[in-house]
């Protein structure tokens, strides 16, 4: 018997969508034995280009259990009531029982090929996937069910990655679907084939290994400016400080001292009163900023299954902020706060830009899938704090959906690193539970603002540039 597995309902903000293939494989309970086949061995014996088999198992479906009852019930009734027609009907039961017994599992040798419409798309692009499966074996496959192993972070937006068909030897079948790309390198590493004989008495589950890869590398999309806080280095830059000196924006005037530049003398005042005074402007300095991306499991949240999760949006926002800061000659670094280690010390120039690009696109810690590995808040927080230069301010990217990250923000703030939080909003208002989570998040934002930490809320579907420009206006008041 195949037990009915309930489809998991998604409660947003939720993590990744459940994967088709994995779902199906959990569906059958049976006393079948699993045989691990060596992929090379299998590939070597096949003269055709059949895809290597990773795992194969046979499971009886027990679906014809009780068919003999038809024979006995009809035959018995026929004998008792002396009805030849019923006795003959019993023969039907016998025939089907024999049919069920004779059912064997066909030999499954399939080759799989995938065609991707675009192998290096941008995030958010739709890519058409065409899967063609060919029966390379000698036997007819009367009932073949194919489930494509769609990589977890990709979302199928059109079509179905599954097919039920029958294949004669040498025949092919294909199906196509469309996925929406997310950041990262995604491997279509398997295809699950479930083959049944004519009667379906036994089914063979074969996982075929494939190696189609799709690389989705986002590019820097710099915003025009990002308001930094007044924690600066000694070097000239674009962050306005509270100190007077050379600059553009008026700061104050002071008594003239010999050696002051002629261009800075307040000639209007001299004309009015005859005194010499020197204008002072707000000094512009560069800053050191470290972009900290919250990549803990608690940050992999999304409002709906089709939407990118908060870590993805954080990385996207960081990729907008990073070049903007670098362009204004600030020293910028990147760190991930989550399991694993990703750290780019603050630096300047195009080398730094290239290093950051590599970190954003290929570091597994910032991957689109929830990273494995242990995470200890205290250890990671301590490590991050040790790494931060004294004059570094922190721009923290986090959905702010738990209290841990609030603690980190306040901890960094208490250690003198001025903190700005940019928070992609993963909450929805669908159910009471969703609204509660959203309200808790708002409360965290209010608390952070109360503690003197700048927070820019980034609702879904809004532009990073617009949101930050609006926030900068509020901060400058």
């Amino acid at each position: 018997m195949i037990s009915r597995a309930s489809a998991t309902e998604s409660e947003g903000p939720t993590d990744v969508p459940d994967q088709d293939a994995r779902d199906v494989s959990e569906e059958t309970e049976g006393d079948g034995e699993t045989a691990e086949l060596d992929a090379d061995e299998r590939a070597g014996t096949d003269e055709n280009a059949a895809s290597p088999v990773v795992e194969s198992s046979d499971e009886p479906t027990h679906r014809w259990r009780g068919i003999s009852a038809v024979a006995f019930a009809a035959g018995g009734a026929g004998i008792v009531l002396s009805r030849p027609s019923l006795l003959l009907a019993g023969a039907i039961g016998v025939a089907y029982a024999a049919y069920a017994q004779a059912g064997t599992v066909p030999d499954v040798a399939l080759s799989v090929s995938r065609t991707l419409s675009d192998e290096s798309p941008e995030p958010g692009d739709e890519v058409d996937v065409v899967v063609t499966v060919t029966n390379e074996g000698e036997s007819f496959l009367p009932d073949l069910r194919l489930v494509d192993g769609v990589p977890e972070p990709l979302v199928v937006t059109d079509g179905v990655p599954r097919l039920g068909t029958a294949l004669r030897p040498g025949e092919s079948a294909s199906f196509d679907y469309t996925v929406t790309m997310g950041r990262g390198t995604h491997t279509f590493d398997h295809l699950l084939a479930i083959a049944r004989g004519m009667s379906g008495t036994v089914e063979r589950r074969v996982t075929l290994s494939t190696s189609d890869e799709i690389v989705c590398e986002p590019e820097f999309q710099p915003i025009s400016t990002m308001a930094l806080r007044a924690l600066t280095t000694r070097h000239a830059g674009r962050v306005e400080t509270r100190d007077g000196g050379e600059g553009i924006e008026f700061h104050s005037t002071r008594e003239y001292r010999p050696g002051d530049s002629l261009s800075r003398i307040d000639w209007n005042r001299h004309a009015r009163t005859g005194e010499l005074a020197t204008l002072r402007f707000r000094q512009e300095r560069s800053a050191t900023a470290v972009l900290v991306i919250d990549s803990r499991e608690a940050a992999y949240l999304r409002p709906s299954e089709n939407a990118p999760h908060a870590v993805d949006r954080s990385v996207q926002a960081a990729m907008s902020v990073f070049p903007a800061l670098l362009k204004e000659s600030n020293r910028v670094g990147v760190a991930a706060f989550g399991p694993g280690d990703a750290w780019l010390p603050p630096g300047l120039g195009s080398d730094q830009r290239a290093r950051a690009e590599e970190l954003f696109t290929s570091n597994p810690v910032l991957s689109a899938e929830i990273p494995d590995g242990e995470f200890y808040f205290a250890i990671q927080a301590k490590r991050l704090r040790k790494r931060l230069p004294d004059d570094a301010q922190v721009i923290l990217f986090s959905p702010l959906c738990d209290d841990g990250i609030v603690r980190l923000a306040r901890l960094l703030d208490a250690h003198g690193h001025l903190v700005t939080v940019i928070s992609p909003d993963p909450t929805t208002t669908e159910t009471a539970g969703h609204r509660l989570v959203a309200a808790e998040r708002i409360a965290r934002i209010v608390a952070l603002r109360g503690a003197g930490i700048r927070v820019a809320d980034l609702p879904e579907g809004t532009d990073v540039e617009t949101t930050l420009a609006r926030a900068a206006q509020r901060w400058s008041r």
């Binding site: 679906r63 009734a77 039961g93 029982a97 179905v160 089709n306």
Partner: protein, 166 residues
């Protein structure tokens, strides 16, 4: 639309099963009135299976039509009608059960037409073949044949299948 599977059986098999059960119910009803209610209930169970994907409903659909066939046999319906209804019951169950498993593994949205056609083709040809062969045998040789001979024939067939099983 996402990666979520709806777990509902594809409709082709269900519609085919309902149509077939409807036809057999009419056929049985003409010769044995008491068989018709079983057929109608079986059709209802088939519709439920198709819409909800309940494996148990598929069992009831086949079982009720089978009972309809037995009743038709008791009411002295023509042999060929009884044979068709009984084999139709097995085919209907097979069709529905297969569609439920297709639904569980692939979902309703997936294209499964070819697998369904081949599957039903196999079991329907067997059912029809055995019915007609049985009927032909019966009408050619059955006239004077004692019932006990048939009983032994059947018992030997059952014995054969249990040997095959082992």
């Amino acid at each position: 639309m996402t990666g979520e599977i709806d777990r509902l059986p594809p409709l082709h098999s269900g519609v085919a099963a309902v149509v077939m059960i409807g036809f057999l119910t009419l056929l049985a009803g003409v010769y044995a009135g008491l068989a018709a209610p079983f057929g109608v209930l079986s059709m209802f169970a088939a519709v439920v299976t198709m819409l909800r994907g309940w494996r148990r409903a598929a069992f009831w659909s086949g079982g009720l039509l089978f009972l309809g066939g037995i009743v038709a046999g008791i009411q002295n319906a023509p042999t060929v009608v009884v044979l068709l209804v009984v084999s139709g019951a097995v085919v209907a169950w097979d069709l529905l059960d297969n569609s439920v498993s297709l639904g569980e593994q692939l979902g309703r949205e997936a294209s499964t037409g070819r697998a369904e056609i081949v599957h039903v083709g196999g079991s329907a040809v067997l059912g029809l073949g055995v019915s007609l062969a049985g009927f032909a045998l019966y009408s050619v040789a059955g006239g004077g044949m004692p019932l006990s001979a048939l009983v032994f024939l059947l018992l030997s067939a059952v014995a054969l299948t249990s040997v095959l099983r082992n």
